[in-house]
């Protein structure tokens, strides 16, 4: 059993004024697949490197399997890591790359051979063992990097944006392979990415970070459906959630620029009970909660907006429509049947049952 506890961890670089990571508090269970996600520079890689021991921890304690690890050398933490640029040893063959750590740990030859060949089999590298990294394609190099982690049988895998150097198609297939690998090996994994699709598809729990702080920890479903604040709501989901600066009054919202809608009773009650009647709030609505089917428009006439299509993108099964209602722009993902050309006048139905409301100043969610 390997549990990882990060207790109120802080990181400050020498010569820096501010903390790069602040009050990072997370408890990771055995076999869990955790994904750190956030924009560039949010501290997710720094946190990962602190767990690996490649960066010092300024404040707080890191426990792995119940032992404090703050002052333990990277090689004694029993962690395997996959780097963004693969970090394969260019002067060694694929076989030697994978065998390197086992040789350093003085495993006997037969055991090394068995493990390397097993890993190569699993990853489809068996025919490449004699090659040098320079002779491999990007996807193959990535697989060798994974293989190097697998042979160690380490209880913890760290992955630092392992797919970001691959092309889009390969990324999708490698993503599936990583998921499969985790299902088979059940190794506790911490995975860093700025790609929210990777986060949503791979994670047991997602840790959303921004500016060095945890914004929310939760399952992909929780993070998507119940974002803790406006940042999380905006970061998770593609295209991004639409945000409207509106004024709430007596069951209606109005942004003064073409959007005036009735708020469903449940949501209205929450807003009023929290004292937001007559106040400015931010309303968030995901693109897929904007509808154009006739049935929706007829059922909810009070939730429709007259808009004009500005840009339209047909994606096959769906189409993305960037629309404008007076001064307010928003994007909707609708069925491909409801595709419209730029310039078309359309009616857009807002499913406010799924709307999120945020405090204008603190950006905290009001309606979870």
């Amino acid at each position: 059993m390997v549990k990882i506890n990060l207790n109120h961890i802080y990181k400050k670089y020498p010569n820096a004024d501010d903390y790069s990571v602040s009050d990072f508090d997370l408890h990771i269970d055995d076999h869990e697949f955790i994904v750190f996600v956030g924009p560039s520079g949010c501290g997710k890689s720094t946190t990962l490197r602190m767990i690996a021991g490649l960066e010092d921890i300024s404040k707080g304690t890191l426990e792995i399997g119940g032992k404090v690890m703050n002052d333990v050398a990277p090689r004694d933490r029993h962690i395997a890591m996959v780097f963004q640029n693969y970090a394969l040893y260019p002067h060694m063959s694929v076989y030697d790359n994978m065998a390197f750590s086992l040789k350093l740990r003085h495993y006997d030859k037969a055991e090394i051979d068995k493990r390397v060949k097993n890993a190569a089999e699993v990853l489809g590298l068996a025919h490449l063992l004699e090659r040098r990294p320079a002779d491999l394609s990007g996807g193959q190099r990535q697989r060798v990097a994974l293989g190097r982690a697998i042979v160690r049988d380490a209880p913890i895998f760290l992955m630092d944006e392992p797919l970001s150097n691959l092309d889009a198609k390969l990324r999708v297939s490698m993503r599936a392979e990583i998921a499969k690998l985790h299902q088979n090996l059940k190794t506790t994994t911490i995975y860093v990415t700025h790609d929210q699709t990777e986060a949503m598809t791979l994670a047991d729990r997602i840790v959303v970070m921004n500016a060095g702080r945890i914004q929310q920890i939760g399952s992909p479903k929780e993070v998507y459906n119940k974002p803790a604040n406006q940042f999380v709501a905006g970061f998770i989901g593609s295209p991004q959630m639409n945000f409207f600066n509106v004024n709430y009054k007596d069951g209606y919202i109005d942004d003064g620029k073409g959007i005036k809608l009735k708020v469903p009773e449940g949501r209205a009650k929450i807003l009023e009970s929290k004292g937001y009647n007559g106040k400015d709030v931010v309303m968030g609505l995901r693109p897929e909660d904007i509808h154009m089917e006739q049935a929706f428009l007829e059922t909810w006439p009070e939730a429709t907006v007259n808009a004009e299509v500005v840009v339209s993108e047909l994606l096959g099964a769906t189409s993305q429509l960037y629309m404008k209602a007076d001064g307010t722009e928003f994007v909707g993902v609708v069925n491909a049947r409801d595709f419209h050309k730029p310039g078309d006048k359309v009616q857009a139905g807002f499913n406010l049952n799924n709307a999120h409301f945020f405090d204008k100043d603190t950006q905290v969610t009001l309606t979870n």
Partner: protein
């Protein structure tokens, strides 16, 4: 309007033309000296480009010359060059690796001081060095080695630039794989630095091999030609024979050709190591 392919051909022609001219300018003195070394003459003057009469006499002469012990010079120079190349390479590579890979307090100031010191020509220190070595009673080959090796640490810039290009994530990966800092250096750093080590070894070998200034200052006081190195010895052949400088001129030329041989051979053997593409594939590509 001229066609583009014609324009390209013309510019290509001029490029090759210029390179050919430069190559000829570079090669003429070398070719001349090689021809001159095979040229028979008894006046000391070599007046034709191609020898009028071919001979090996100059080569035989320089090895059998009783006044100037050419073989001693070669041995002396080899000893000095090999010892100082070995020590200098080790020092230079170590300094470069440390400055590239480790972070410590005085690193930045050290880099700056080294840069400033590097701006002064080495021979500025010759008078001081002479007196220091004289005081230490080291006006001999040992002192010469000390001078060459002593400055090696400052020549780290090229090697540091090379180490900087090896991704740090390789070191980190090796550390996580279980390597100590020393193992990272020996198993990752050094194997990847082969081209750099060869380059450093070559340059630190060549410097003593052809150096005239320091060997002249340090070895001249002994007055014993057997202790000279090649460059200073050859210079002596012309300068100390006073009015009869021409007597040994042909032998001098032969001596010059001989000292070029080891360097040429070294370069031919080592040039394949110059390929720096060895780190290709470590990163995305």
């Amino acid at each position: 309007m001229k066609s583009y392919s014609r324009q390209r051909k013309v510019s290509l022609f001029f490029r090759y033309f210029l390179l050919t001219v430069l190559a000829i300018v570079w090669l003429i003195p070398i070719v001349w000296i090689v021809f001159a070394s095979f040229s028979y003459n008894d006046t000391g003057f070599i007046s034709t480009f191609l020898p009028e009469k071919w001979t090996l006499q100059n080569y035989i002469g320089i090895f059998t010359n009783s006044q100037f012990p050419y073989l001693h010079w070669i041995i002396n120079t080899l000893i000095v060059a090999i010892i100082s190349a070995t020590l200098s390479t080790f020092i230079q590579i170590s300094v470069a690796y440390v400055l590239s890979r480790l972070r410590f307090k005085m690193r930045k100031p050290f880099l700056q001081i080294a840069l400033v010191l590097g701006m002064f020509p080495g021979f500025m220190s010759m008078i001081a060095l002479y007196y220091i070595l004289k005081g230490l009673n080291m006006l001999n080959l040992g002192g010469l080695i000390l001078v060459y090796v002593g400055g090696a640490g400052l020549g780290f810039y090229v090697a540091k630039g090379f180490f900087d290009t090896i991704p740090r994530s390789l070191d980190e990966a090796a550390e996580l794989d279980g390597a100590t800092k020393w193992q990272v250096f020996t198993k990752i750093g050094l194997p990847l630095s082969k081209p750099m080590i060869v380059y450093t070894a070559l340059t630190t070998f060549m410097a003593p091999w052809v150096d005239f200034i320091f060997s002249g200052i340090i070895l001249s006081t002994s007055g014993n030609p057997k202790t000279y190195t090649i460059a200073y010895g050859l210079y002596n052949m012309l300068s100390s024979s006073k009015g009869s400088a021409t007597t040994f001129f042909a032998q001098f030329v032969a001596g010059c050709v001989i000292i070029a041989i080891p360097i040429t051979v070294l370069f031919i053997i080592m040039q394949k190591f110059y390929v720096s593409g060895i780190t290709a594939g470590a990163d995305k590509g």
